[in-house]
Symmetry: C2
Subunit: 227 residues, 2 copies
DNA sequence: CAAAACCGCGAACGCTGTTTGCAGTTTACA
DNA sequence: TGTAAACTGCAAACAGCGTTCGCGGTTTTG
């Protein structure tokens, strides 16, 4: 969901998606992958990513912490599951409406809503999540929307990653507006900061900022691009 | 460095910048704040943010882990120190050259270089770092560059945060290009992904992408903006 | 029916950030 | 000048974390 696709030889941790959901020999697992992911997402929505500890997730499912490792090989696997589960909420993908910019913007709006529902999602994604089926479907849908665009695959992936990133910036700026506070700071040494705060508080930028930003970003990234 | 300034009543953890560097009564500390921050930055540059444990930092300075808490009240404080120290590398700020867009772009380029020197910086900043003197100076310089722009303070802060965010996206995409790998995945269910990989690998987008993106972002965010 | 494979469990390991009591050192004030 | 307060660094400990391991019990395979 970030970065361009290449096949570099990095420390490939074996993804969850490779391992079979359950073995063929033993007793049936008392919990499914989806149940685990759902419980973890619920916990993250409530307490943030830090609240998603193996013990907490296991506790929410009334199982022992170590038992989780029958389903996952690490906490990273759990986060991959969570990410893919939430990306699935983007379905169904826009189809048959307006220009590719319009469609992409619609998708971006849905991403923004998703990131607001799950404020921890950008962080979980930025951690280089291994794409699961839903994430692959998301990329596929993006590429489908970008089909009319005459640009190379690399450029398209760059654009997708950039849009995803900007969307998460908007989600963060909305969620954490007013996070940075300059109170109790001596502004004497910072004349322009001081002047800014002397000014009467201006209205926050209008609501179309999201659309205008993404439109200029998309056209800038994809339309005038050669390759 | 992210988000707009407001004075909301959030759980204000007391910043490092408030506490005096050393008391007036006891023996002289064997290490200064700067030495601690420098050691931590060195560690982060080498091993990433995860490598910056209190014990590791203390070890690099040949002191006990608990002793760090004579200078800092938490690890967050340490990260704040690290961030502000690195932001200081942006000095001196551009002055007297070209249009405000040109000057801001120059600053953005320097930020990009900074983020490449310290790949952990974006993460440390995104964690809502408490602005130190260097960060305040950075904001001050940004506002000075934006002085000719007729836009409200809130819009300017939004723009600054957005530029900072996009710069870190570029830094990440460059550092982690080829991170997401679709190898060993059955692409049968994802026709557009499959088609994308069947295509001969196209050249990566040209180098002016950074400039074009930021220019369109800046003009989109600030020039047509009302108040 | 035996062997292999898998499940869930509880206890442990090493790591983390942080707290605490201690002894020693420097300063401020009467 | 002497004493008390304030500060320093240290070692040890605490709770929490992700993770591993050996156990007994259950299910399937041959």
């Amino acid at each position: 969901m970030s970065g361009a696709p290449t096949s570099s030889a990095e420390p490939d941790r074996p993804s969850v998606w490779a391992r079979p959901e359950r073995g063929a020999r033993g007793p049936a697992p008392t919990h499914s992958r989806d149940q685990i992911a759902a419980a973890a997402v619920e916990l993250a929505d409530a307490d943030g990513l830090a609240g998603v500890s193996m013990r907490a997730v296991a506790g929410a499912l009334e199982m022992a912490a170590g038992s989780l490792y029958r389903h996952l090989s690490s906490r990273d696997d759990l986060l991959d599951l969570m990410v893919d589960r939430c990306v699935g909420e983007l379905r169904p993908y826009p189809k048959d409406g307006g220009s590719w910019q319009d469609q992409f913007l619609l998708l971006a709006r849905r991403q923004l809503a998703l990131y607001r529902r799950h404020p921890w999602l950008p962080d979980a994604i930025a951690r280089r999540a291994v794409p699961g089926p839903n994430t692959l479907a998301y990329f596929d849908a993006c590429l489908r929307l970008l089909q009319p665009v005459r640009a190379g695959v690399a450029a398209k992936f760059e654009a997708i990653a950039m849009v995803t990133g900007v969307v998460s910036l908007f989600a963060r700026s909305a969620a954490a507006a007013g996070t940075v506070t300059f109170d109790h700071v001596d502004l004497a040494a910072y004349p322009h900061l001081a002047a800014a705060f002397a000014e009467p508080p201006s209205a926050r930028p209008d609501g179309d900022l999201f659309e205008r930003t993404l439109r200029s970003l998309l056209t800038g990234l994809l339309t005038t691009d050669p390759a």
